[in-house]
C-alpha cells in the first residue's frame, strides 16, 4: 500500500467501475474501494443482464430450450449447446450418431479458437494496444464464415440436436477448415512476435495478478484460470465426453499463477484445438448425421442428472431434474465465469488499478453467462 497516499489523507474513496465501461466487456459493475491508486476492496455487482434462463427452462419443452443455450455464452455458444444436448441425451438415453459426434467436436473446437481469438484481441485492447484486435478479428472472421456456412448463424448458434446435429457438413466446409488450420498455424508465430514477446506486454503481465491454486479451489475457478495456476484439470481430458477420448492432445498447464500464465494457457489451447480438429477431420466417419427415429417429444425418465463440459472459460455444468413430463422440472446451470469472477475481490486486493484491470481481463469474463 502506498505510504505516500496514506500520509496525505488517510482516506479511501469508492470508485464505480461500470456498468458501462469498456474494460468490463458488458454490463458488469465493480465497486472499488480505493486508497489513491491502490485497490483496497473490490466487490463485483451482478445482475444487470439477468434474463432468468433457468426459470425459462421450466416453462418450455426440452427442445425449446436449445436456442437459450447459445445466448448465455455468446462467444462459445456451441459448447453450451453441447453441454445441454449431452445432458438431455444421457438422461433420456438417446444414442448419438457417430458422425455427429465428430461434427460436434470439429465445430466446437473451431468455436473455441474463435472465442480465444476474440479474448486475445479484447485483452490486449484492455492493456492499451489496439492493433492486435484487428489481426485476431481477421482470423476469427474465417471461423465465423465457416460456421455460418453449416449452422446458418454467426454468433448465437443452435446447431446440435438430441441425437445428432441439425445439418450435415459438406466437403467445402472440410476443405475450408483444413485451409484455415494451415493459415492459423502460419500466423501463430506472428501473434507471438507481435504481442507475446513485446516488452510492454511482458512488463504489464509477468508477476501481476497472482491467483494461487488454493484460491482457485476455494472459489471453484476452472478452465484457463485454474490451468494458469498449475491445476491440471480439463474435462475433455479427465472426464472425457463425446469422442474426446479418441484424440491425442495435451492440456497446457502453467505454474506461474500470474496474468501471463493465463494468457499463455489460452494461446497454447488454440494450438491444441487445431490438433484436435485435424485429427477429427482425418477420422470423420461416414454415416447419418442424426440418429434415425429419435422421438420428437423427449421425455427423460424421472430423476436428477448432472453433466459438465469444458468451455473456453471453464467447466459448464447442467443439473436437470425431470419429473417425467415434456418440460424440465428444474434446470440449474453452473457457469464457469461466475466462479472465476468471484476470486477477483480477493485477488485484486492491494493492486494498482491498471493491474487489477489486467487481472480482470485475464479472467475472460462474459457477462451474460455470469448473470444467465
Amino acid at each position: 500500500m502506498s505510504a505516500f497516499a496514506q500520509s496525505q489523507t488517510n482516506e479511501t474513496f469508492v470508485l464505480n467501475l461500470g456498468p458501462q465501461h469498456p474494460a468490463t466487456h458488458g454490463v458488469l459493475r465493480v465497486k472499488l474501494v480505493m486508497d489513491g491508486e491502490y485497490v483496497v476492496e473490490a466487490e463485483p455487482v451482478l445482475g444487470y443482464i439477468h434474463r432468468m434462463h433457468e426459470k425459462m427452462g421450466e416453462n418450455r419443452t426440452w427442445a425449446q430450450f436449445l436456442p437459450n443455450t447459445g445466448r448465455m455464452d455468446y462467444l462459445h455458444a456451441l459448447a453450451f449447446n453441447h453441454g445441454y444436448v449431452t445432458a438431455v441425451e444421457r438422461a433420456a438415453g438417446i444414442e448419438v450418431a457417430e458422425r455427429a459426434e465428430y461434427i460436434r467436436v470439429i465445430t466446437n473446437e473451431l468455436n473455441r479458437i474463435s472465442s480465444h481469438l476474440l479474448w486475445f484481441g479484447a485483452f490486449v485492447l484492455d492493456l492499451g494496444g489496439f492493433s492486435p484486435l484487428l489481426y485476431a478479428f481477421d482470423d476469427r472472421e474465417h471461423i465465423l464464415d465457416l460456421l455460418e456456412s453449416v449452422t446458418g448463424s454467426r454468433l448465437t448458434y443452435c446447431y446440435y440436436r438430441f441425437g445428432g446435429v441439425y445439418n450435415d457438413i459438406d466437403d467445402g466446409f472440410l476443405a475450408g477448415t483444413t485451409a484455415f488450420i494451415k493459415r492459423l498455424r502460419d500466423r501463430m508465430p506472428m501473434y507471438h512476435n507481435l504481442v507475446t514477446k513485446n516488452i510492454i506486454m511482458m512488463k504489464r503481465l509477468e508477476g501481476i495478478g497472482p491467483v494461487s491454486a488454493e484460491m482457485c479451489r476455494k472459489y471453484g475457478a476452472t478452465g484457463p484460470v485454474a490451468r494458469g495456476s498449475g491445476i491440471d484439470f480439463d474435462l475433455r481430458k479427465h472426464e472425457p465426453y463425446s469422442v474426446y477420448s479418441e484424440f491425442d492432445f495435451e492440456v497446457p498447464v502453467y505454474t506461474e499463477c500470474d496474468s501471463m500464465a493465463r494468457y499463455m494457457v489460452r494461446m497454447d489451447e488454440i494450438e491444441q484445438s487445431m490438433r484436435i480438429i485435424e485429427q477429427a477431420v482425418a477420422k470423420l466417419p461416414d454415416g447419418p448425421f442424426m440418429t434415425p427415429k429419435v422421438s420428437k417429444i423427449v421425455k427423460p425418465p424421472k430423476g436428477d442428472y448432472y453433466n459438465a463440459v469444458e468451455t473456453a472459460r471453464g467447466s459448464f455444468g447442467i443439473r436437470l431434474v425431470s419429473d417425467g413430463t415434456n418440460t424440465p422440472y428444474r434446470l440449474k446451470l453452473r457457469s464457469p465465469t461466475f466462479s472465476n469472477l468471484s476470486l477477483f475481490g480477493e485477488a485484486s486486493r492491494g493492486m494498482l488499478l491498471p493491474d487489477a484491470l489486467a487481472l480482470m481481463g485475464s479472467l475472460d469474463l462474459v457477462i451474460p453467462e455470469i448473470d444467465r
Partner: protein, 146 residues
C-alpha cells in the same frame, strides 16, 4: 547491471519486430468490405426470418395448417389459421402472422414442418420505424414475391 541494459536492448528490439509486422500490412491487399456499397453473398443455409413456400402447381402455399410450427416455437411468434373449403380435401391456409419482434431465429419451426411449407428468407437488411413493421403477414409476402 548487465541484465538491465540487456533488457533495454531486447525490449526495444521486440518493439521493432512488432512494428515490422504492422508495417508489412501497408503493402497487403485490403480485406474489409465497404458494406453498404458492396455486400457479401449469403450462404445457402443462412437463417433469416421464415417465409412461406409456394406450391408451383397450385400457386398456393404448401401449408396444410397442422400447427406444428406454432407448437414448436419457443417464443410464440406464429399465429396461423385455416379453413376447410367446401368439397375440398384438407385445410387451406387463410392467415399466417409472424411476430418477428419475438423471434430468436432458432429454426425449430422449419425443422418441424413436414410438408416443407416454410423456409428461411435471405432478408437481413431489416429496418423500420415502428414495432408493427415486424409483424409480418407471410401470405401477403408470398403473393408479393411474384
Amino acid at each position: 547491471m548487465i541484465d538491465y541494459f540487456k533488457e533495454i536492448i531486447s525490449g526495444t528490439w521486440s518493439l521493432f519486430v512488432g512494428m515490422a509486422i504492422t508495417i508489412r500490412y501497408f503493402f497487403q491487399p485490403v480485406v474489409t468490405v465497404q458494406y453498404p456499397h458492396e455486400t457479401l453473398p449469403m450462404p445457402p443455409r443462412f437463417r433469416g426470418h421464415i417465409d412461406l413456400v409456394k406450391d408451383e402447381e397450385s400457386g398456393q402455399s404448401k401449408c396444410i395448417v397442422c400447427g406444428m410450427c406454432q407448437k414448436a416455437c419457443p417464443s410464440g411468434c406464429i399465429t396461423l389459421a385455416g379453413e376447410k373449403p367446401e368439397g375440398g380435401k384438407g385445410k387451406v391456409l387463410t392467415k399466417y402472422i409472424l411476430d418477428f419482434t419475438k423471434c430468436s431465429l432458432c429454426g425449430l419451426c422449419v425443422e418441424s414442418c413436414k410438408p416443407e411449407a416454410i423456409a428461411f428468407s435471405r432478408d437481413y437488411n431489416l429496418a423500420g420505424l415502428n414495432r408493427n413493421d415486424y409483424v409480418f403477414d407471410l401470405i401477403k409476402r408470398m403473393e408479393e414475391r411474384n
